[in-house]
């Protein structure tokens, strides 16, 4: 079987729906990015919008901040989740409860996390009272550079469990005989990690990365609800820029930033996917 027609029929609903609700809007975005004016006076202006936006300070700030967020957050979450997964690898059965608890922060609703951040990090919050009790100076944790780290911390807390489970799944499939024979050959922990674990984990790492990026973008909700439309400079993300462009009806900058974001994602994932596929083909 595997006839072309049956395949096409099966994927038709999803592809049609995606076309209507995701691709068509995206093509609209593409068109907006090449035009200027609004309402009846839309005209195509080529790459003028792109040039203009690369000179826009808010855009460069937002883009830079988003890049910084992922540049810091993604490795941190992967390392954190990997460490936990490795630790759990040997004792996955002993910590069955922990396996379920990992996902609890993920199901916490946005309202709940916003409330928690407020309770912990606001000026009258738990952290400040703790510091006060210890005699250390209190600070405004939700403004300035510390806001960025609070956001990273929130991202890690909420989404680490998700990545842990993805990585743990991959770790479980590695047969233990390989480790045992490596032990017999006298390998230490580092060598075991690099020569046995890592080569077989590329697909899991890729998956964990994809979902961590998706979850990272979702962190915007909490930042928006805590910081408002114009948060401090440190946590002004690309999505804030897009949102504010929407508020000021500046469809052009909105679209251009979306296209640039897509370009970065495409390049990043394309490269990584190619890398992973090559490693997998090498292994097989």
């Amino acid at each position: 079987m595997r006839k072309k027609s049956s395949g096409c029929i099966l994927i038709a609903p999803l592809v049609l729906g995606c076309l209507v609700f995701y691709l068509a809007p995206f093509l609209l975005v593409l068109r907006f990015s090449f035009s200027a004016g609004s309402g009846k006076s839309i005209r195509l202006v080529g790459l003028e919008n792109y040039q203009r936006i690369l000179r826009n300070e808010s855009f460069m700030l937002a883009f830079g901040n988003s890049l910084k967020f992922f540049a810091v957050g993604l490795p941190l979450i992967m390392v954190f989740a990997y460490l936990i997964a490795l630790l759990m690898q040997k004792q996955a059965d002993r910590h069955k409860l922990l396996k379920s608890v990992f996902l609890f922060p993920y199901i916490m609703p946005v309202a709940g996390t916003v409330l928690l951040v407020d309770l912990l990090f606001s000026e009258a919050g738990l952290l400040n009272s703790l510091l006060g009790a210890l005699g250390l100076p209190a600070g405004d944790w939700l403004a300035g550079p510390s806001a960025f780290w609070v956001t990273i911390g929130l991202y890690l807390w909420k989404n680490a469990g998700y990545a842990v489970i993805l990585l743990l799944a991959g770790l479980i499939t590695i047969p233990t005989e390989q480790y045992e024979s490596a032990d017999l050959d006298g390998a230490n922990t580092w060598q075991r990690f690099f020569y046995i674990t890592t080569p077989q984990m590329w697909y899991s790492v890729f998956f964990a990365l994809v979902f961590s990026v998706i979850n990272g973008f979702k962190c915007f909700r909490e930042i928006f609800l805590i910081g408002g439309q114009e948060p401090g400079d440190e946590i002004y993300m690309l999505q804030h820029f897009i949102n504010n462009s929407f508020e000021s009806m500046n469809y052009a900058s909105l679209s251009v930033s979306s296209i640039l974001l897509l370009a970065v994602i495409l390049i990043f994932f394309g490269l990584f996917y190619g890398f992973v596929e090559r490693k997998e083909a090498y292994r097989a």
Binding site: G7, Q91, P109, G112, A169, V210, L262
Partner: protein, 259 residues
């Protein structure tokens, strides 16, 4: 030997610390919900569950939307996942990669054009505007393609030789073998719909029609105690689903990558 016990103790302690970090906020929210105006009081719980109907009505509204999205996406993703996994047609990998990229994009990118398009379709300010885009999200197809790919081709070939059509193969062979994947896809899309914030603000016109998660997040109730109790209410269905599908979920995410 001593090294191993030390390692076990350290890892055990680490696991315990992690459990505390992950669970503590929940316990804090739960305990604080009983604490109103400086003393233990059940009045906020009374207010949310029996005193006013608006909280429960919003709850059912959210539940209805999320169930529609979860089941709808399940249906669409089963078809698409099977198609991507088992059928060969030109451009299969390219389309799949494209879908994956669409999945990763943040909501803000397509929010405005979606708004324009939904306006033209006449669906603005109604619940289908929230439900339909989420039904066609690629997330479910992504997960289910991986889990369907793990079905050995021989089984499907044998079934085809016996004269089964694709619907039959799907219903009686593919789906029962992949309950974990199905549950995983359903749960994740349910969660996405349950926690959605940006779309209702953009597509719905007034506060009365907001589902619970958005109403709570966007306009917090003036009383902190009621806010806390509402948070508990919002977490309740997710907790139930996670407790009920615990086994499948962990296995399902597992299966999503076993090639």
């Amino acid at each position: 030997m001593r090294e191993k016990t030390a390692f076990r103790r350290v890892s055990g302690g680490f696991a315990a610390l992690l459990s505390v970090i992950f669970l503590a906020p929940f316990c804090y929210v739960l305990l604080s919900s009983f604490w109103s105006q400086g003393k233990v009081s059940f009045l906020p719980y009374y207010d949310v569950f029996w005193g006013q109907s608006q909280y429960m009505l919003r709850f059912w509204r959210s539940l209805g939307i999320s169930l529609c999205v979860g089941l709808g996406q399940l249906l669409v993703s089963v078809l698409a996942g099977f198609g991507f996994a088992k059928c060969r047609f030109p451009g299969r990998n390219a389309i799949f990669f494209g879908l994956m990229i669409l999945m990763v994009l943040p909501v803000q990118v397509t929010l405005v054009p979606n708004y324009i398009m939904l306006g033209q379709l006449g669906l603005l300010d109604s619940y289908p505007a929230l439900i339909l885009p989420l039904i066609f999200a690629p997330l479910g197809a992504f997960i289910l393609r991986q889990s369907f790919a793990s079905i050995p081709d021989s089984i499907i070939d044998a079934a085809m030789l016996d004269g089964c059509g694709i619907p039959r193969i799907l219903l009686w062979i593919a789906m029962p073998m992949n309950v974990s994947g199905l549950v995983c896809a359903f749960l994740l899309s349910f969660l996405d719909a349950w926690n959605m914030v940006e779309q209702p603000i953009a597509y719905l016109r007034n506060f009365e029609r907001y589902p619970l998660s958005v109403a709570l997040a966007y306009v917090p109730p003036t009383s902190m105690a009621i806010h806390l109790v509402c948070c508990i209410l919002v977490v309740l269905p997710c907790l139930f689903l996670f407790a009920f599908f615990n086994r499948e979920l962990v296995e399902g995410i597992t299966l999503a990558e076993v090639k």
